[in-house]
């Protein structure tokens, strides 16, 4: 038993041998902080606090808290371009977003789930497809020239495991053992060593797509970091938190991997608690309405992101997941429309928010899922498929279809939709046309993929 590297062996690793290894490769988590009051950065720090944020900084072991402040200061009021990545978890049924309603094959493959003929509005670039009325807000964005649609995005020899296919999308390559994410490598290329906010996860834990090789990135969750103990107050309480941190730091210094993890978490928690203490929370009031009700936390996350961008926080890539479960093996009719409505309407509200705040020209949003679903329904739902749909939106986006609808007449070897565009080509287009860097530095074998006219 020579190996004592705890991180290299966990069940999750085992279960996802090929998948989400980006998570395994993450550098250790450290607490970040909004800069303290009185540094001239009050507004930005206020925004961080008021975004209901707990900030964890990944891979910033060499980053001092002073450095953190500087990183924010340098980018203050910056005009850097931003990419927001939104993941629809479970494999969205693309045929229920844009449906070939008049195609008899579609009607025979989808006897119960087909969108009724005549419902929805035609897709402006391919009238054989109609938008699901629940995704009408995407139709509006598309008609306004602010959204490029990829109606058949995927890759060759598609993998139908959620974990593996999602992993491929996250790392930007068909590499089971890749440990850095595609946006992480982009940040390694365009980022700075003192700005963890350049890659920001809004799901609480770090998105594997943002896992960097060297530079710091961060994850946020809410809503506050209060701790309390019954019948402990005053100086004994204050000193107690100091002791929690001390116990944690001591354990983190040992050679025992389990103790390191447990101690590190305690030390980080106490640092975070101390750092967030000076700031008082205040609600964000977005300039436009976001959808309320089920899944409204998603809109709240997006409005917090818009507020943070507005406050000048130096974010370059942000990642979050939409609510809902799109792994609709059964009872698809009962959940799909609600879920896709919450996702698309919240995203449309985010776009309107960015426009109202004057930020829209420097932000694009990518909406993706790990795969599409099987064209032939299974009675009440659909099984894992291959080619799916993705969307890129923003005022600077060209709004022109990338690839075409692959059609149902000719399916792939597994009876799934063919891919008419490759997600790695899409990534290359974003990297080159939006960030102005050579995609070869980020995407393996970048030259092999066609580029789409995405921006301008």
């Amino acid at each position: 038993m020579g190996c004592n590297h705890c991180e290299e062996f966990s069940r999750s690793h085992l279960m996802r041998r090929a998948a989400a290894e980006a998570g395994r490769g993450l550098p250790s988590i450290e607490p970040g902080m909004p800069p303290p009051a009185g540094t001239g950065l009050n507004r930005r720090s206020f925004m961080l606090r008021s975004s209901a944020a707990i900030l964890s900084v990944y891979g910033a072991s060499k980053l001092s808290f002073a450095g953190f402040e500087e990183g924010i200061a340098q980018a203050a009021g910056g005009n850097d371009r931003v990419l927001v990545s939104i993941f629809l978890d479970g494999g969205v049924d693309s045929l229920s977003v844009l449906s070939p309603t008049t195609d008899p094959i579609y009607r025979s493959m989808r006897p119960t789930l087909a969108l009724a003929e005549g419902t929805g509005t035609p897709f402006a670039e391919d009238p054989s497809l109609r938008w699901n009325p629940a995704a009408a807000s995407f139709d509006a964005l598309h008609r306004a020239g602010k959204m490029s649609v990829l109606p058949g995005v995927g890759y060759d020899s598609p993998d139908q495991s959620h974990f593996t296919s999602r992993h491929y999308w996250e790392v930007g390559a068909l590499r089971p053992n890749e440990v850095t994410g595609w946006m992480g490598r982009l940040i390694d290329t365009i980022g700075t060593p003192d700005n963890p906010l350049q890659g920001l996860s809004l799901d609480g834990s770090l998105s594997p797509a943002l896992a960097t090789g060297s530079l710091p990135v961060a994850a946020l969750s809410g809503p506050s970091y209060d701790l309390w103990v019954k019948n402990v107050w005053g100086q004994p309480e204050e000193l107690m938190y100091g002791a929690v941190g001390e116990l944690g730091r001591a354990a983190a210094r040992t050679k025992d991997a389990g103790m390191k993890t447990a101690g590190g978490a305690a030390a980080q928690a106490m640092a975070l608690k101390a750092q967030l203490q000076p700031f008082s929370g205040e609600e964000i009031v977005p300039p436009v309405p976001y959808p309320e009700g089920e899944g409204e936390w998603f809109g709240e996350s997006l409005s917090a992101l818009a507020a943070m961008l507005h406050a000048g926080l130096p974010i370059r890539c942000a990642a979050l997941s939409a609510p809902g479960g799109f792994d609709t093996h059964d009872n698809q009719a009962e959940s799909f429309d609600t879920d896709i409505r919450v996702a698309t309407e919240s995203i449309a509200a985010f776009q309107a928010d960015l426009e109202a705040r004057g930020l829209a020209d420097r932000v694009i949003t990518l909406v993706w899922s790990e795969f599409g679903r099987r064209p032939e329904e299974n009675d009440s739902g659909t099984d894992h498929g291959a080619g799916g749909s993705a969307f890129v939106l923003g005022t600077q986006v060209r709004g022109q279809m990338i690839g075409e609808f692959p059609g149902l007449a000719q399916l792939d070897a597994d009876d799934n939709l063919r891919a008419t565009s490759d997600f790695r080509g899409l990534y290359c287009s974003i990297i080159e046309q939006w960030f102005g860097v050579d995609a070869a530095a980020v995407i393996p074998d970048a030259g092999a993929f066609g580029r789409a006219a995405l921006i301008g």
Binding site: M1, C3, C6, R11, T261, A262, A265, D330, G381
Partner: protein, 448 residues
């Protein structure tokens, strides 16, 4: 070659680790007693071969209003029902194995607490396998039939949900360097073999009468892993267990629940031989893992949140009297709600968010017996005495000297901060409450 056996000292520290990893931690004095009464072999067998029926000792569970639980009906009481068993059982490994199978065959919300509980009972009953039998029973367990669409798998419209996870997550594993141990065709053929299960929907009751309906089953030949036959769901399970990739998958996965470093290839192969030779029995494999040198010599393992919570309650001999559902969720592990079909992410048990959840849980347990801040208290208690008292509060868990020293330093600092007269007793009282939290949340209590 046999599986290596730990030959070092089996004292209180080793016994405590065994009780934490193969259960939910010691009750006060239990680790010392186990080490005194047994050698390693005896201690392991006391857990793996309990005599008699399982008994639950201690106070019966109640909800936060002091009322009895309604596990099938009241929201969250399904979780309390199980947490109670973890806390009060006299056969902790049985419940711990059930928790392992819950993670292994991770089934989340099936819209019926009854189904969730019945699945947990299945895991309790077949806690030691044999695995082939367990797999068969899980495959047609109502919660699983709902969760992975088994009852939606009709010969005219095969549903691949269970077929894929059966192989990827339950028996064979995802692709490795050599690729997948199965093909997409195998997924489809397995799905066809698994067709036929159904249930009826009854108003006000929900799904009832789970059964195999021959009319829904595809009786035509299927080719699975290169073998052809008119396979049904039992064949589907059997072919997975007999697949050459299964034994490695099984041993590596089971091992990972007990030891946070991988088995050496020699150990792994020896365990694989044991597993196959004993007809897919789980007990001999678990016993070999619990006696392996890596179990005692290797690094500490972060406790799953629910184990941590149950352990705090055991250490205090308290029962269920709070709404643990939201606190367990905050700590990162709500029973019957794994994040997805691959179970909980054991590499991510502890971060700043889940630390706060564990803190909240510890405060809840400590809070039951927190000293009232109006009560009278010693104005002269020394730091050493204060620390001893706080460690005893949790049943004297073995803590390192360094941890004790840090606690004493804290206690000393509070004593020094007590300058005013009124602070002499009050600060020492508050200090005792704080020290109990410091013990409960210290790294040595989070990992074992």
């Amino acid at each position: 070659m046999d599986v290596p056996v730990y030959r070092g000292k089996f004292g209180e520290r080793e016994a405590a680790r065994l009780l934490w990893r193969a259960g939910f931690g010691p009750k006060p004095g239990e680790a010392a007693k186990l080490a005194r009464r047994f050698n390693l072999n005896g201690a392991v067998h006391a857990l793996t071969r309990p005599k008699g029926k399982q008994r639950l000792g201690g106070p019966a569970p109640v909800d936060e209003d002091g009322l009895p639980l309604a596990p099938f009906d009241a929201y969250g009481h399904d979780q309390l029902w199980w947490l109670d068993r973890m806390v009060r059982t006299n056969q902790p490994l049985r419940e711990r194995m059930a928790l392992i199978w819950h993670d292994w065959f991770a089934t989340a919300d099936v819209n019926s607490q009854k189904f969730s509980i019945e699945q947990a009972q299945l895991f309790e009953r077949l806690w030691m396998g044999p695995f082939d039998k367990l797999l068969l029973d899980v495959t047609v367990n109502p919660a699983m039939l709902v969760w992975l669409s088994g009852i939606d798998n009709h010969r005219r419209a095969p549903n691949e949900n269970y077929a894929r996870e059966l192989m990827e997550l339950f028996t064979l594993g995802a692709s490795d360097a050599k690729g997948y141990p199965y093909s997409e065709d195998d997924v489809r053929e397995q799905a066809r073999a698994l067709t036929g299960w159904t249930a009826d929907y009854q108003d006000d009751v929900g799904l009832v009468n789970f059964r195999l309906d021959p009319k829904r089953h595809d009786t035509t030949p299927k080719t699975i892993f290169g073998q052809t036959g008119a396979f049904d769901w039992t064949d589907s399970c059997r072919l997975c267990v007999k697949h050459s990739a299964h034994k490695t998958f099984f041993i590596e996965k089971l091992w990972s629940y007990f030891i946070p470093v991988p088995p050496s290839p020699k150990t792994r192969k020896a365990l694989e031989r044991l597993y196959v030779k004993r007809g897919y029995a789980v007990r001999p494999v678990v016993e070999a893992i619990l006696m392996h040198p890596a179990f005692y010599r290797g690094p500490a393992m972060v406790k799953p949140p629910i184990v941590y919570i149950a352990g705090l309650l055991r250490a205090r001999r308290r029962g269920i009297e709070s709404d643990w559902s939201w606190m367990a969720d905050m700590a990162g592990q709500r029973l019957f709600r794994p994040p997805n079909v691959s179970g909980w992410n054991d590499a991510r048990w502890l971060d700043t968010s889940t630390f706060r959840g564990r803190w909240t849980a510890a405060n809840e347990v400590a809070g039951y017996d927190a000293i009232d801040d109006e009560a009278s208290y010693s104005a002269t208690e020394t730091p050493k005495a204060a620390v001893r008292k706080a460690v005893k509060f949790w049943g004297n868990p073995p803590l390192s000297r360094q941890t004790i020293k840090t606690l004493e330093r804290y206690a000393g600092a509070v004593g020094a901060a007590a300058t005013a007269d009124w602070q002499q007793d009050t600060f020492r009282l508050l200090r005792q409450n704080a020290l109990r939290m410091l013990v409960a949340t210290c790294p040595e209590m989070q990992a074992s």
